[in-house]
Symmetry: C2
Subunit: 590 residues, 2 copies
């Protein structure tokens, strides 16, 4: 039982059968075809030789098959993590040097160790700190940066930089050196891929292809682009006319080797690796959860940390760079019918065969084609409607997403994400320190109590009920004191104050002190203090305190009990409240 938690393969492996095998094999073939160009392209994005992308798509998939809890997640190089790898490695050496490659491999090793450690200590919950707006923001901004960074390959010029500003400046400086042949190939591939994405599938369906076959043909689009452009370059000898190609790559399986353990290097890469780990994990877990839920399966985020850590260690040991679970590849794996993580292992075999036999064919593959596939892939990540939606729904979340987008574009993912996370936390805390409370009365004919300012409800002159809409914590303790004493001061005829605790989800020590103070102050003023609808977990705590002994009033199970006991004549001397909150918001609650 214990062992299978850390090695989920023991679980699903036990019931593995022929049906699962054929599903997994089928999925593996499709994913392999899609993965070859993707792996090459993302290695290019990371500033590495394209073959490293293949290396990072073999052992990591095997490792995930052993340790992963998602049945359909496909790990390997992904866009955002490749971009972050490039940013971190660029601090160490220039792209193309052996030191740069060593830094990328070390990043995978450090990130792997971090992830495994976080998994062992069950720190997966820390990923909660990355809110949806922050994640959406940095993905959108990364998509823009990545697309911009790939323009240089499309134009056949050199331009480097981490932030959008730097990249655009570098492009502008060198745009006059654009190589026309490269541009022709790049734009051709780009146009073809956009058409494949948007126009091919409907066309194939119209000429009678089944939906699965049409889908498959669409997914194979990048492979077609690669074959066609490679043939053009080879046939016309454009590689001699300035079109940069993949060139000579070593044939064979990845070299098995321990990553460089250089303490100075590791220290310099630490922060970068931490971001790669956390962001890679969040991306991967979101994908895994989305897919698992579709089939009513579950995943274990803490074990996912271990699995992703193992994948990164495996990548590092085989000369690869940081990997994580990717969205598009996993969706393809899922749609192709993968039944178990074995599909990933079979994919690894496919990629291994490709590295053994296909690499010589890639000699003439133009980099512009790979860039075109990257641009088409990442532009789907850019979601500019999200900020507009957030503006309408929640200004707090809008601030978080805009800060993340802008700072990522201007100063890179690390700054953007850190700012987004800190800002989200600060806004959360600020919000918790300014809660809402409402004076409530009885909805006529029911035992239900609502805000006097939103509903016409029955009130009794001698009883005031305040519904407290927040956990009582140190962040808002002064607020409650002020609110309650203010309400009481402006209603001198009140004899009983009921604090309706239906929305009080916790009371910390500072909150408890405030309740004790309120109880004393109200007693001085001749007002009895009661509580109603105190929830189980809160009551369990309060029962250990002096408050319950000192409380001048009672604790009622329901607000209705309180109202009946304290204002039995509300039907005679009570009055209806006159709601004053706008007609629109007055409908609230229905």
């Amino acid at each position: 039982m214990k062992l299978s938690r850390y090695l989920p393969i023991l679980d699903w492996g036990r019931s593995y059968d022929g049906a699962a095998l054929s599903n997994d094999m089928m999925a593996a073939v499709i994913v392999t075809i899609m993965l070859i160009p993707q792996s090459l392209a993302y290695a290019l994005l990371a500033g590495l030789p394209p073959v490293v992308g293949l290396y990072a798509s073999i052992l990591p998939l095997m490792a995930y098959a052993l340790f992963g809890t998602s049945r359909t997640l496909s790990v390997g190089p992904v866009a955002v993590v490749s971009l972050m790898t490039a940013a971190a490695a660029a601090n160490i050496a220039e792209s193309g040097t052996p030191e740069y490659l060593a830094a990328a491999i070390a990043l995978a090793a450090i990130s792997g160790l971090m992830l495994v450690t976080m998994g062992i200590f069950r720190l997966g919950f820390l990923a909660n700190l990355l809110s949806h707006p922050v994640v959406s923001g940095f993905i959108t901004a990364s998509g823009i940066i990545i697309a911009a960074s790939q323009l240089k390959h499309l134009l056949g010029i050199s331009a480097s930089g981490e932030s959008l500003v730097e990249i655009v400046e570098a492009l502008a400086a060198n745009v006059s050196e654009t190589n026309p042949n490269t541009l022709a190939i790049g734009l051709g591939a780009l146009g073809f891929l956009v058409w494949v994405r948007n126009g091919l599938k409907p066309l194939l369906r119209r000429i009678g292809l089944g939906p699965t076959a049409a889908d498959f043909a669409t997914k194979a689009g990048p492979v077609l682009a690669i074959v066609a452009t490679t043939a053009i370059v080879a046939g016309l000898g454009w590689d001699k006319q300035g079109v940069r190609t993949v060139g000579e790559i070593p044939v064979g399986l990845p070299p098995f080797a321990l990553p460089d353990f250089d303490l100075g290097l590791w220290r310099e890469l630490l922060v970068g690796a931490l971001f790669i780990s956390v962001i890679g994990f969040v991306e991967s877990v979101s994908v895994a959860q989305t897919l698992a839920a579709k089939r009513r399966q579950g995943i274990d985020p803490d074990q996912e940390l271990v699995a992703l850590g193992a994948s990164n260690l495996a990548s590092s040991f085989s000369g690869g760079f940081p990997v994580t679970g990717g969205f598009s590849r996993s969706v393809v794996n899922f749609d192709a019918g993968a039944a178990t993580p074995a599909a990933g292992a079979f994919t690894a075999v496919g990629i291994a065969l490709a590295s053994l036999f296909l690499t010589p064919l890639l000699y003439y593959l133009p980099l512009a084609t790979l860039s075109a596939t990257i641009i088409v892939a990442v532009l789907t990540l850019v979601d500019l409607k999200k900020p507009v939606e957030l503006w309408q729904y929640s200004k707090r979340d809008f601030i978080a997403i805009m800060a993340t987008i802008i700072l990522t574009l201007v100063d890179g993912i690390e700054t953007g994400v850190l700012t987004g996370v800190s800002l989200s936390l600060a806004l959360f805390v600020f919000h918790a320190s300014r809660p809402h409370a409402a004076i409530v009365g009885q909805v006529p004919g029911t035992e239900h109590f609502r805000n006097v300012r939103r509903h016409a409800v029955i009130c009794a002159p001698n009883v005031m009920t305040i519904r407290v809409d927040e956990a009582l914590t140190y962040l808002n303790s002064r607020w409650l004191e002020k609110t309650v004493l203010g309400d009481i001061a402006s209603n001198p005829e009140v004899e009983h104050l009921v604090l309706m605790f239906s929305a009080v989800n916790g009371v910390d020590a500072s909150g408890l002190e405030v309740l004790e103070t309120l109880n004393r102050r109200l007693a001085d003023a001749g007002v009895t203090m009661h509580l109603s609808e105190v929830k189980g977990p809160v009551m369990d705590r309060l029962r250990r305190t002096h408050l319950l002994k000192e409380l001048t009033g009672e604790i009622f199970l329901s607000q209705n009990d309180a109202f009946e006991a304290l204002a039995p004549e509300a039907g005679v001397n009570g009055y209806l409240s006159k709601p004053d909150i706008t007609p629109e918001s007055r409908e609230t609650g229905r």
Copy 2:
């Protein structure tokens, strides 16, 4: 109107009359007598010449009288802020040097500017970040450190250090050099003061003194100790036998001068000044609020920032060190009947007269006596019962207070407070990310719904109601999805899920996404999703979203409406839940 918000004196000054005048004068006389030894002692604690304590008790009181919103707060040197001043100034120069004095004066200036700025930007809410346990923790630890640091004057040896460890080590190293005469005076004064605090008042009452007179005599104890020990030293010539005394001090009013503006110095003092500002503000505002509430008055925390800032600037311009509102002095002022801030201005006049005419009399005043008054005063700040109480009530708050106490003792107030604040925030966020939810049913014979595991309540087989006990935010969005889908998965007969939102105090963008996802997932599983008891402010927001259009079910005003509509036959086919939470906690809610 606007002007009187920034100059509250325009408000209370308008109705100032003879009765207020005589009350304020009386209070001023009593506070002046108590303040003279206190001011001298706290200057000593700050490592400054005692007369600086008098300087810091004149203009600052005038400034507070102009700007302060509390009628009874008394500002001036206080123990904790004096300790922090000593710690910050010791980083610049050695105590006793002109540079040290200049640093203390600069601290008051910087702190004054910071406080005024915070007041103008209405940042008073930031003080909320200092929870009661953190404040209690650092005050307890500071009391211990201060008492230990004063032992050197009691023993007549030299010993310096910031943390308890350093101080104790220094004391142990030099204890052999103890001066017996100094020790005799110190212990004598200490014994006398302890007796005055505990034994004198009952004695005076027994011999027939009224309570006010007895109280006054008790408060005058330190003055008596000073007079007696000064007389002993002067009479027996002990100042020639190694008893250190206050010595020559300049006669006259404080020199009016601008503080040193040395950018390098200011930069070095910045962090220290920030802590002095924030902690001084928190201490002062707590005192002001406590006293104001007793007389049903109010204070304005943001204006208090301005007032304390002005007091510190005034202190700095007159050669003084950082000041704030002190607990014991304010209570004396309050008890003595101070009616308006004018009492503070009159006290300032009293202290000014003392600096003009009394200082020569202080030549023979032994430092040991001043230390004894400090020790007696600060030991009342030490509250060792608090951690025990917190352990019983809330482990979270216990962790915060213990971390604050230990780190303050080991590494000083700044580290202690920073750790306490960060830890409190981290634990708060952690808690918010692991909320509580309960499946609820109808309490028989009522319209009230409670946890099925704590109460025997009516449930319907086809309807499940989950009460969500937390605002839905990005910190816990994954939790809700998991909880709800888990509960639904284990109850396949459920057709309707009601999310009871009575305790949902907010839904951010991440929470909204989860609700949309849940709605879709439940629809896939053939379960209709409803909401009940959505509060006004939450509903106002949700009405701007797609969720309400896409929601498969309805939004009910009350949970009872939902239950009646969805399970009309609950009386026939319903069943009673069997509570399984221990008998003790099962009483919860009553």
